[in-house]
Assembly symmetry: C2
Homo-oligomer: 449 residues x 2
């Protein structure tokens, strides 16, 4: 294959992938075009890379530049998830490979046979989470199964955090990714997982109380809360009969108990519209508390949430400024508590110049082999670079670039709608990721059964 | 007007209204037809009343029997709320009056001018709640305002309960109304009210902790939790500037803290689908608890909910059979926790032969008049009859019948889309309700300002 690659989407998360693609132009004579509806994004992201072509184009599903797309071999889409399907349809029609970092939607899955017939690969879930999580977990588990091991427990945790050197607030958290997703995390259907053969369901208002402590060597103490539907991964990973199956989201130790205070108060609610005129943060908090003229807002919070006055949780709430007589920002006359909270957090949890982010992932797998109970723990920590390229951009973008590389080099024969759970992808991809500093550390334990 | 009345809907809640209408045929020469899609309902409900015509007809919105409807003067609709609009359109077209016990939907409200032009009354919210609550509250408040009083606080509570003589379970509750509405009560948008000038919002997971104790003379101790959007009633009641505005749902003292346990566990969730095969009540409860092989399900519940072993709340959970190894009923392969809980409660909270229900309503109004702080409390208690006609059927049905009576007697000149907040309706209607044993008791307090 010639190596004509189109990247659609040049937002902040594309930085590492764009650098990867530019290097391929220089070293492997690829021809790479980056397209985005925003000329600003293109100018900014492509400035260091004159070897890349830029095309400002509107990828709106109703007027996709179909003829333009036809001149490439491999398309990488960083468009919003719901738009991938429209690109995928064109890719099938014109026999182009497509790579995305998004979950396989039902519409995408329905293109499987058409993609097979056209001889193209529609590779999705090829970022960090989903992406590197699939690949590293499947590599561990396939190795265990090859030896004859029977997997009894699979626990996997991922988090996007602030690197330790730049961690300077009591939440030990800053926004390194979409703030709205963080504020609304866990809302909707209860989280589902399996533990020791029992199915477990966690409603939203319990989610941030149901945390699991995690230790990462060299990085200290973390915690994780259950992440949506872990059961969904059982067939994907060939773990239909596994007794324990849990995926979780990693935060620094103490984050969840403080965040739980916001949940319990109702400040993460996204259904209620509140008048923002003359509203202060203190009044917003008070609106969620029972009336009691004898107590201050602070005292009511302590009593309502049953937390002590000097507690870490209260300190976190105070640090956010939630008790200040400061007017809320009011871009709209009516806003939801979640939208208001997001505006506050975007100030308080903003990355400062020079701040670096950090990706943390841990797989914890128990299995029985040779009459022994064994456990393998695999950990990945990636920090952002001094030049501003984030760990998130690297871990999402590099797998996409590497998948394109495998296709162009003719080393990937898989076709149809796929996730990277196959050795043909994960073996070479994980190996190449290592050369970019993305590598897992493994620990093993063995005890008598 | 001649007195040709059509009642659409002959379900269980129509019993008192049907008796009222039959009496009108005998004493006032009305011609009354009752229609329902179910011939069984008609046969059963009309058996004692040969003076009433029965017509089994399908009132599906897409094929309403328009010509049939044309021969009546007043239509009373007990159809499901979303269907009233289609009847209302026909009523406007053919210049018939319509009476319902349902909330005014936006579509219904939009018919106001057309109804005025046609000279017809589309009277809604003419049951118990909404209905008697509007009428009795407005009567109190109009009297206070007429004297020059300034209303500072309006609190109003309503509940459908089991009458004291038949109250024989630790929840002090049985289903006297739609069970699904009880199980899902409070879900959706947070409850909203106003207290001492502050707006208050209560998310679902706090709702059953935010109870207000209530005492009803002669009936003892109750409690109420905030009922949806109380703020909505401020303009309707002319209370735009009132400092306190709260509507609540009444339960017996102790119900809410026990129900809160089900909410906190997640058993009222209606979004999650659970496999019912081989599921027991004990396993269902366990699925919402953290894994801990050292503790029994009971011990985990006590710890998770932070309730003592001998508590009223635990007794209520045990009484429901939630800790039994009994299989759940499984009409479907997958059901939500809320649907399963409803099946259980329908057994445990079923009315037994001879049981009578009870309606409780209380208005608590504070106002300033003649330099004094005054308070008026008005209470209504209605018990079901020995013949099986429920208090719910009486308090929902009789206002509908009385409204028809006022129209037919020419004593109601109001037209357009209306709720019964006008003296022209509530004065005669409340007076006539008294003759059916539906009367409020009033108490007054006066203190120095």
């Amino acid at each position: 294959m010639k190596g004509k690659v189109l990247l659609i989407g040049a937002g902040r998360s594309a930085a590492a992938l764009i650098r990867f693609l530019a290097e391929k132009v220089r070293t492997a004579h690829w021809q790479v075009t980056v397209s985005d509806v925003s000329k600003d994004f293109l100018d900014k992201q492509l400035a260091p890379y004159p070897e890349l072509q830029a095309e400002a184009l509107d990828w709106n599903p109703h007027k996709m530049p179909e003829r333009f797309l036809m001149s490439f071999d491999v398309i990488i889409s960083l468009l919003p998830p719901h738009m991938h399907f429209y690109v995928a349809e064109l890719c099938v029609k014109h026999r182009k490979h497509l790579i995305t970092a998004s979950y396989i939607s039902p519409e995408m899955a329905a293109l499987h046979q058409a993609a097979l017939d056209a001889g193209v690969l529609l590779l999705n879930e090829m970022g960090l989470d989903p992406g590197i999580d699939h690949m590293s977990a499947m590599q561990m588990m396939d190795a265990i199964r090859k030896e004859g091991g029977r997997i009894t427990a699979f626990r996997s945790y991922t988090g996007g955090l602030i690197a330790p050197a730049y961690d300077n607030n009591p939440w030990h958290y800053k926004f390194t990714w979409n703030p709205r997703n963080v504020v609304l995390a866990g809302q909707g259907t209860p989280a589902m997982y399996r533990e020791q053969g029992d199915y477990k369901y966690v409603p939203y208002h319990q989610l941030f109380k149901r945390v699991q402590p995690i230790h990462i060597d060299g990085y200290g103490e973390f915690e994780a809360y259950p992440n949506r539907d872990s059961l969904h991964y059982m067939p994907l990973y060939g773990l239909q009969d596994v007794a324990t199956m849990l995926r979780g989201t990693i935060r620094r130790r103490g984050f969840c108990s403080a965040w739980n205070c916001l949940v319990q108060l109702g400040l993460t609610n996204d259904a209620l519209l509140i008048e923002t005129k003359n509203l202060t943060w203190r009044a917003l908090v008070n609106a969620f508390l029972p009336y009691d003229p004898q107590l201050s807002v602070e005292e009511k919070v302590l009593r309502y949430l049953q937390i002590p006055a000097g507690s870490h949780e209260m300190h976190c709430l105070q640090w956010l400024g939630l008790f200040e007589e400061e007017p809320v920002p009011a871009p709209s006359a009516q806003m939801t508590p979640a939208a208001l909270l997001q505006l506050l957090l975007e100030q308080k949890w903003a990355l400062q110049a020079g701040d670096r982010d950090m990706i943390v992932m841990q797989h914890d797998i128990e299995f029985e082999l040779n009459g022994k109970r064994q456990r393998e723990v695999s950990e990945l920590v990636v920090e952002g670079e001094a030049n501003g390229i984030t760990a998130m951009a690297k871990t999402v973008g590099l797998p996409l670039g590497i998948a394109a590389e495998l296709l162009i080099e003719g080393n990937l024969s898989l076709r149809g709608v796929q996730a990277p759970v196959h050795a043909e992808i994960y073996e070479p991809a994980l190996k190449r990721l290592q050369s970019y500093g993305i590598h897992f550390k493994q620990k093993k334990e063995t005890t008598a059964l």
